[in-house]
């Protein structure tokens, strides 16, 4: 018996990611270790521990809460108060407390974990013929398994998840109650006797199930049989269904492309294990640890070209993925080749998540379905990460941040004035909820939760899914925003919806210009302070500008709540508006028209040069069609129509988009067709750069940017608008010179070398432009954001040349630099502006 006068009792409230991570069983065992009595329970604030013991033991217990916590747990805030000791017989895990503490309404107290890939322990059991869970397709534990996608509400208990309709069998109950068992208090515990089961279905033409019931291992064998025969299967995973096919089988992959209406966009490929990966792709240490991590993203690696060409249609990279759910592992124990794994949806629509939905929507795409009866509550696509060279080793860039990362919050270095709901962008949408932090506590910091990837909102199903996800998050977190922030584009459906939503809630909304959102997102995730001005660079394909034109190559100076546009690329027309976004040829033509008709100032010499090349004739009316065809690939008859549109501005609004300039250079370097997916021309340009592959080495080319490594350009100053304007005309002229002067246009080898040289020097030029403007603006901190910074080479080139000139350079590394990160910038802005 303990000496009562040394007995101390403390109530500890812990918030953070402390549910769904095995925290309660961990504390239970810790209590046993230190002879602590009392209890622990889940509540809506996190966990509450009532711990009592002799002082020394209690102190050690409290210290160990931090130092020995489970691998998935994240402790945000620990508060405690001491109370008078009472009589406790032992330590127990009490029932969860679902009463809502209104005092904590404003604070982010709960973080449910992202979905976690099957852990090594469970994998061992899965593949062990003597284990009772041998080949059990839903094996998991407190350290792994789905969480975000199967938790209906908080606090986290079995009854709040998709496992609520499965009652544990006696054997599982014993494990659940046994403190020495791996599955002590594992909420999703189950087995063949009591858990969910898989089923194989071939839908008839009406999209509903036939009477065939093929379940369990036989179902998975049937799926594998279809794959062996070159067919396409639809497999329910975590966050949604995958469509899968044999990645080495040309016909199978082509078939998938045809049925899914996805002509060229690369597919991700799932491999059995890391050994398999190395046969087909170059994987360095960073990539491998990312692939093996519990978050299991898709990682873009250099392709060794041993799979079907149609997997990525010739691009340099291949998206690599390792299995993350037991079903995948079982499939790979039977199927010994890599599998294309792409999200199961009709082009552009959200990933399918329910059995009926899959059978109905995809009946003409898949030859067989592997469904099961553990519901998925939230759609969640796979995440995609690209490894690029950084200044100090390799960096990871999020192309898409979703499964395995959402809903982990992004922590801010300061508190906010209010809770904010941010609508995000229109393309690659994520929305965000910003928590202000404790308004009464000066040191309290805010945090932002970004949603999963919601895709492009330009079709109805995606837009509806977006609105449903917003409502789901608000309910799940009991989130009450005081302000809604949206993009300033007046025609985005989520901009319009923001207004309606704000009205319905009786709160205000504010619109934030697209590129400012990009810059702010970069500032916030890098923890830049509120007081310091930054130099911001936002390069992307499109974003609505203050003046109604389409911005995309913009420079800013300022702070979180006020960013002044200080520079831009010389604007040019998009011939045919949206058509030009898909046509690098139209973009290039527009730029050439400017060059050919401009004969003042620095272009006086150029004009003679152009005439000598017979690119244009003296009276400026007709262009030499052969030369234009050679440069753009556009036939003469079309050029005349485009010229009329360009010169009269018929549906040809202006843009300053850097992304489009990339497209134009891409066209000069051989990409003379429409793009079939967003960024296709940019990837083509990137693939031209860099050395041929040496194993395990990230691509790079000579780092020092000398004048000869760049093309020419000029930076003019517009006094009226107080703007620096980048004129890339001299660059285009030099590139044209190179192409026209090429003596061996038929020799594809030397042509490739030529294009490579142009592409690399172009990237150098952009980096040099950024440096020049940075020097004019003068702020020490430089923030780069926007989809263009997904390029494998530009970030490092830019960072190096800016560092050499005394700048600190920041990129988006925790969230995507593309439009998937817009919501973070909107949320932070909305949290910092003054009350109006």
């Amino acid at each position: 018996m303990k000496d009562n006068e040394h007995l101390k009792r403390v109530i500890i409230n812990i918030s953070g990611r402390v549910q769904g991570v095995g925290f309660r069983p961990f504390v239970f065992k810790l209590a046993k270790k230190y002879s602590i009595r009392g209890n622990i329970l889940n509540d809506l604030g996190g966990v509450t521990i009532d711990a009592q013991g002799i002082e020394n033991d209690l102190m050690n217990f409290m210290k160990s809460l931090n130092s020995e916590k489970p691998p998935l747990a994240v402790i945000d805030v620990k508060t405690f108060r001491f109370l008078k000791p009472v009589f406790y017989r032992d330590f127990e895990i009490k029932k969860s407390d679902r009463t809502y503490d209104t005092n904590n309404a404003e604070n982010l107290n709960l973080i449910i974990p992202p979905d976690i890939a099957t852990c090594d322990e469970c994998l061992k059991e899965l593949l062990d013929p003597s284990d009772r869970r041998y080949f059990y397709p839903f094996i998991n534990c407190t350290d792994c398994g789905p969480r975000f996608t199967i938790t209906k509400k908080l606090p986290y208990d079995r009854v709040s998840t998709a496992m609520d309709k499965f009652k544990m069998c006696p054997e599982c109950e014993i494990e659940y109650e046994d403190p020495t068992n791996r599955r002590f208090h594992a909420e999703p515990n189950g087995c063949f006797a009591c858990g969910p089961e898989v089923e194989f279905i071939v839908p008839d033409s009406l999209g509903s199930k036939k009477d065939e019931k093929i379940k369990g291992f036989k179902a998975i064998k049937t799926i594998v049989q279809i794959l062996e025969n070159g067919g396409i299967v639809c497999v329910k995973g975590v966050g949604g269904f995958h469509l899968m096919a044999d990645a080495a089988n040309d016909d199978a992959v082509k078939l998938l492309r045809g049925r899914k209406n996805r002509p060229k966009k690369p597919f991700a490929v799932m491999f059995k294990d890391i050994c398999e990966v190395s046969k087909y792709a170059y994987a360095d240490n960073i990539s491998m640890s990312l692939l093996l991590s519990r978050r299991r993203p898709i990682v873009l690696l250099k392709d060794k070209r041993n799979l079907s060409y149609f997997v990525n249609c010739g691009t340099k990279n291949i998206g690599v993925l390792l299995p993350y759910t037991p079903i995948h592992h079982i499939i790979f124990s039977l199927f010994h080749k890599p599998l294309v794994a792409t999200s199961a949806n009709i082009a552009g629509q959200p990933i399918v998540k329910d059995n009926d939905e899959a059978l109905f929507k995809l009946k003409s795409i898949a030859d067989g379905f592997l469904i099961h009866n553990r519901d998925i509550y939230r759609r969640c696509d796979d995440s995609v990460i690209k490894i690029i060279k950084g200044t100090k080793g390799n960096d990871r860039v999020f192309i898409r941040r979703s499964r395995g990362y959402v809903p982990d919050p992004i922590e801010l270095p300061f508190g906010l004035k209010r809770n904010v709901l941010a609508m995000g962008s229109y393309l690659k949408n994520t929305f965000a909820m910003a928590y202000s932090g404790n308004i009464n506590d000066d040191d309290s910091k805010g945090a932002v939760i970004l949603s999963q990837h919601n895709g492009d909102l330009d079709n109805i199903d995606s837009f509806i899914n977006f609105t449903e996800n917003v409502e789901d998050f608000e309910t799940f977190y009991n989130f009450k925003p005081s302000l809604i922030v949206c993009d300033s584009h007046p025609r985005y459906d989520n901009t319009k919806w923001a207004k309606d939503l704000a009205k319905k809630k009786g709160i205000k909304y504010v619109a934030l210009q697209h590129h400012r959102s990009h810059i702010i997102s970069c500032m916030a995730e890098n923890g830049l302070g509120l007081k310091d001005d930054v130099f911001g660079v936002a390069f992307d394909g499109t974003g609505y500008g203050d003046d109604g034109s389409i911005w995309g190559g913009e420079f800013f100076k300022g702070n979180y709540i006020h960013l002044k546009r200080v520079g831009t690329f010389k604007r040019f027309r998009l011939i045919g508006g949206d058509k030009a976004v898909k046509s690098p040829q139209r973009v290039l033509l527009s730029l050439l028209f400017t060059l050919f008709t401009e004969n003042r100032g620095r272009y006086v010499e150029n004009y003679d040069f152009m005439r000598k090349l017979s690119v244009c004739s003296p009276d400026k009316k007709d262009f030499n069609p052969d030369t234009l065809l050679k440069l753009t690939g556009i036939p003469a008859k079309n050029i005349n129509i485009f010229f009329k549109m360009w010169s009269r501005g018929i549906n040809s609004s202006y843009t300053s988009s850097c992304g489009r300039i990339f497209d134009a250079v891409s066209c000069l370097c051989g990409f003379k067709r429409d793009i079939s997916y967003e960024g296709e021309a940019a990837v083509y340009l990137e693939d031209l750069c860099g050395k041929e592959e040496a194993e395990n080495k990230r691509d790079s080319y000579d780092n020092e940017i000398e004048k000869s490594d760049c093309f020419g350009y000029a930076v003019d100053y517009d006094k009226i608008d107080d703007l620096f304007i980048v004129d890339y005309g001299p660059m285009l002229i030099q590139i044209i010179e190179i192409i026209i002067n090429n003596r061996n246009p038929e020799d594809s080898g030397s042509l490739t070398a030529l294009y490579k040289d142009i592409a690399e020097r172009f990237i150098n030029t952009i980096a040099s432009v950024i440096k020049d403007i940075a020097l004019k603006i003068g702020c020490k901190n430089a923030c780069m954001s926007g989809g263009v910074f997904q390029n494998a080479f530009l970030p490092e080139k830019t960072a190096k040349i800016l560092n050499e000139n005394g700048f600190s350079v920041f990129f988006n590394r925790k969230i995507p630099p593309n439009d998937g990160g817009i919501s973070l910038g909107q949320a932070v802005y909305g949290g910092l502006i003054d009350d109006k």
Partner: protein, 258 residues
């Protein structure tokens, strides 16, 4: 709608220097159309203004008709009504634009200008139950459908593949980056027809020279969808079954094309 046009007023504002022969051309074509449809031009006015005070010629008309068929109104559009268009859309808008801006296509695009009462009366005379009729002018098919959807408080679902469009108009739109449904028509009628009458209406329309390419393009109401999130919107279903909103046309497609 459902009224027979009877009388027209014709007001002209003419810029000094406007060519007599062009004026004659215009007046002659007015006379021809009036004769065709039986409309009497009963009053009018002519003003000549100094050079630069008018863009060539402004023609203003007002019309009076007699309602022969009652109860044809946008408010009668209900769930299940079938949407029919009397012919290819976007002809007039693309014709005028290509002329005005000198965009020479391989095949010249002709306007679809036509008087419509004749054809409409054929349909109504035969007792087809029609909820609403409207001619597509400024803003084209998209404008009419949006006005209907919004006024009737009902969603309208259209199959993109079913909308009749001439290849030359498609090609023109490809170049310019427009959607044919947003370009003006000048001789097309859109019907909302009670379910069951659509085949008869199509038959009648196709028997008339102005309705040869009449087609069923969609349906009003939400029978197939259970989302209440959209009300009074036009939803376009594309070839792969992906739905998107067909918005009111905006910007440069609207001014002065008719």
């Amino acid at each position: 709608m459902g009224a027979k046009p009877l009388f027209l007023s014709l007001g002209l504002i003419i810029e000094e220097g406007f060519l007599m022969e062009d004026l004659k051309k215009i007046i002659n074509s007015v006379v021809q159309e009036a004769k065709k449809s039986g409309v009497k031009i009963v009053t009018g006015d002519t003003k000549v203004v100094p050079v630069g005070k008018a863009d060539g010629i402004f023609i203003n008309t007002s019309g009076i008709g007699e309602v022969l068929y009652e109860n044809i109104s946008v408010y009668n559009i209900t769930d299940g009504d079938v949407i029919i268009v009397s012919g290819d859309v976007g002809d007039h808008g693309s014709a005028v634009m290509s002329q005005r801006d000198g965009i020479d296509m391989d095949v010249a695009i002709e306007s679809d200008c036509a008087s419509l009462w004749d054809m409409i009366e054929l349909v109504l005379k035969q007792g087809c139950r029609v909820s609403a009729i409207r001619d597509a002018t400024r803003g084209g098919l998209a404008a009419v459908l949006n006005e209907w959807a919004s006024a009737a408080g009902i969603n309208i679902h259209i199959e993109e593949n079913e909308i009749p469009i001439k290849d030359s108009v498609k090609g023109f739109c490809e170049f310019l980056g427009f959607e044919p449904y947003q370009l003006a028509c000048e001789g097309r009628v859109i019907f909302a027809v009670k379910s069951g009458y659509e085949n008869r209406v199509i038959e009648i329309l196709r028997s008339h020279p102005s309705g040869k390419n009449a087609k069923v393009i969609g349906i009003a109401g939400d029978k197939n969808r259970s989302d209440g999130r959209f009300k009074g919107k036009v939803i376009l279903r594309g070839i792969y079954g992906v739905d998107r909103l067909l918005d009111y046309p905006s910007g440069e497609l609207l001014p002065r094309i008719c």
